[in-house]
Symmetry: C2
């Protein structure tokens, strides 16, 4: 990339990255929503994805600590409230534990992270470190995968309810609020990036930040597919499903 | 673990971790040495592993900067010399580029990291961050996978020379010096850990550090096997072999 894009051209470039690299294109995602997984495989997904959910507030707090204005900090504080809630049992992390509990996993085991795939840990930690170490512009840009999440959430909820008898609307309570939260979050982040990426270098950095984040989400599904879908190569020490209904 | 181990019991516990978790047990390792991979698949391995090799001096320099005595720093400085060499074209990183070049990869492309699997980057970066963020004792313990590397190197060199017509001793020049360097390095690190892990908590931390490092190496092979071995799921943007002889 050698010429400066208009803000709308930058947005188009970012949306193209989503169309090519977002994890709704991953084979594991298709298997999950298409009803081709066992309960044990879905447990493995929910257990590993828990570490992502539980690290999002750490990611947002890391960025919050670097933001220069009350306006930006208020916006990012709202994300913390969404994920951590206002009292025990509320917020996105707690709702994710409803999902793992509904799937039959022991909550203390999930929270211990003992069964986590090493690759999940490395990918999620890479996201938190990115937001700590890169520019604020790149850190905000890395959140832009939320531009693409309402579609995947709709597919996920309808597909999982239709295809798995052990999945209920209550189990999937995590997802409903995200359908309104994610568009609000991504609208702010997109407007910020379009306004502040004013040089070729900054625009390239924004594009690379979104590619990086797509790689985080994609790599998590690579590990799950490799470990838990036939023939299955679960690494030493990671979660082993007890039942495979 | 609730009782203090003797130094020799600690060593035995560490060797058990290697026997259960070292990446010589991984299916990709067995395929590589057993002659079951194509040249393109071996290119993918060498290209991704290059990022590990190129990051080892960064890892060692990060630890060097935290070591408290001239004795420890001299020991760790030797590792830097082994990997970075004494003049251009010498040292382990340069010898690894002989391997990628011998496999037909463009050196500038390898060094650009453009074709790297995201999962490789996350795993390798996790190792560098571990050495920066954990205690010096844990950082030194995480190097102890070298206890197990002479065996894997012997298997690798003999297996690859026997099974692939496009692999020569010159291509594999990286490995010969490692057969003497790795035992020297790991003997020092093992003695250090046996002397300094004096509480149950420190011994558990040392054990966890070695498990963590085994997870780094294992996860790199997970990603390679998933991306490049049949059916193959190469992530968007990563290296695609041009020839599959």
């Amino acid at each position: 990339m050698t010429t400066l894009l208009t803000p709308d051209e930058l947005e188009a470039a970012l949306r193209t990255i989503g169309a090519e690299r977002y994890h709704n294109l991953h084979p594991f995602h298709k298997a999950l929503h298409g009803g081709r997984l066992t309960r044990g495989q879905i447990q493995a997904w929910a257990l590993n994805r828990y570490y992502y959910q539980a690290s999002i507030p750490a990611k947002d707090a890391t960025l919050l600590a670097r933001l220069p204005t009350p306006e930006l900090r208020r916006e990012w504080r709202r994300r913390l409230i969404d994920h951590d809630g206002t009292e025990p049992g509320t917020g996105g992390v707690a709702r994710w534990l409803k999902l793992t509990e509904g799937l039959g996993l022991d909550t203390a085991y999930v929270q211990s992270l003992d069964g986590l795939l090493p690759g999940t840990r490395f990918a999620v930690d890479a996201y938190v470190h990115f937001v700590r170490d890169k520019s604020v512009l790149e850190a905000i840009a890395s959140s832009l995968t939320e531009l693409f999440s309402p579609t995947i959430i709709s597919e996920r909820v309808s597909g999982m309810l239709r295809n798995y008898s052990f999945i209920t609307e209550e189990t999937l309570a995590y997802f409903a609020p995200r359908l309104t939260q994610a568009p609000q979050d991504s609208a702010f982040a997109l407007a910020y990036v379009k306004e502040h990426a004013r040089t070729v270098e900054q625009q390239q950095a924004v594009i690379n930040a979104l590619k990086f984040k797509c790689g985080v989400l994609w790599s998590m599904l690579d590990e799950l597919d490799y470990a838990y879908v036939a023939p299955g190569h679960i690494p030493p020490g990671s979660f082993r499903p007890q039942d495979d209904r």
